[in-house]
């Protein structure tokens, strides 16, 4: 195999590894940003350097390297700390209003504006 081909293969492998590492880093940071630091004031795990945040970072990193998906990691932490640990809580019966409220506001707000304008035009 000539040297150019070998170099090309090496470069290709290096690029794949680099892209995978970057993806993993992005995924990890996304997860950190969506986790609440329970002992901090309004900070995410990504923003905090507290003992708790550092331990959570360790756990998330370990679970990612064990092949766990983002959802599996959230599920694990929710099981231990409840929905409060995630900024984007899973959809359930206790928080359905939180999920639907923006849409309700949009619908009723639109309806309100439409009816008000219609009334004004009719006058």
């Amino acid at each position: 195999m000539n040297i150019k081909l070998k170099a090309l293969i090496l470069l290709f492998i290096f690029n794949i590894n680099y892209v995978l590492a970057q993806n993993s880093l992005v995924e990890k940071n996304e997860i950190f940003k969506n986790l609440r630091c329970l002992i901090c004031q309004g900070q995410s795990v990504a923003d905090s350097n507290s003992e708790f945040a550092q331990t959570i970072k360790l756990i998330v990193t370990e679970q990612i390297s064990n092949g766990k998906t983002e959802k599996e990691i959230y599920d694990f932490l929710i099981e231990k700390y409840g929905d409060w640990i995630v900024y984007k809580p899973p959809f359930n019966k206790t928080n359905f209003l939180l999920w639907f409220f923006p849409y309700l506001v949009l619908i009723f707000g639109g309806l309100f504006i439409f009816l008000t304008l219609k009334k004004r035009v009719n006058r």
Binding site: L38, I39, E51, F52, Q54, T55, I56, L58, I59, E62, L77, E79, K80, Y81, G82, W84, F112, L115, T116, K119
Partner: protein, 174 residues
């Protein structure tokens, strides 16, 4: 009296906003672990403080009640609760497990030598990973479990007289 659609909407909106504020402000915004009560502990892998022995679920089910206490020598509130832990040592049906959290081994040993060792078994959690499995977010924290590994109560912060009373009553019930 006829109220216009606009006025009614505004009144309803104000009432709704007031309702949201009322509910939110009267709610306890502090994180608590009450949702963990009644849940079963799993994947327990506590490493011994002195050797490489691992304590797992099999060891915990042998005890009628177990109090797992997370502590560290650098934690001042841990010193405050220590007399309570010492008074629980002889408690019938209760096994005490101490988990030394992110601590220096020599300091931890000195702490126990000075204040007394209340634990039947001492474990260590050097990097804090095991603490996550127990839903711990700060120390001291203690978890009372029964022989089925069901969490009876979590004590956040140092144990108090009331906590001590609860533990004693609970373990005496058996």
């Amino acid at each position: 009296m006829k109220i216009s659609f606009t006025k009614l909407t505004i009144i309803l909106l104000i009432l709704f906003i007031m309702g949201v504020f009322f509910v939110s402000l009267s709610k306890d915004s502090m994180y608590n672990t009450k949702n963990l009560v009644g849940k079963k502990l799993n994947n327990v892998q506590l490493k011994s403080f002195t050797d490489d022995k691992i304590i797992s679920e099999i060891d915990l089910i042998k005890n009628k009640f177990t109090l797992i206490n997370f502590w560290a020598s650098w934690c001042t509130p841990c010193q405050k609760e220590h007399p309570f832990l010492l008074s629980l040592k002889g408690q019938k049906n209760l096994h005490l497990i101490g988990v030394n959290f992110k601590d220096n081994k020599n300091n931890a040993e000195a702490f126990l030598k000075k204040l007394g060792d209340p634990y039947h078994y001492l474990a260590r959690d050097d990097n804090g990973k095991q603490s996550i499995n127990f839903g711990i977010y700060g120390i001291p924290e203690s978890i009372l479990i029964d022989e089925n590994l069901i969490i009876i109560k979590k004590f956040i912060g140092p144990l108090s007289k009331a906590d001590l009373k609860f533990i004693k009553e609970k373990t005496n019930e058996y």
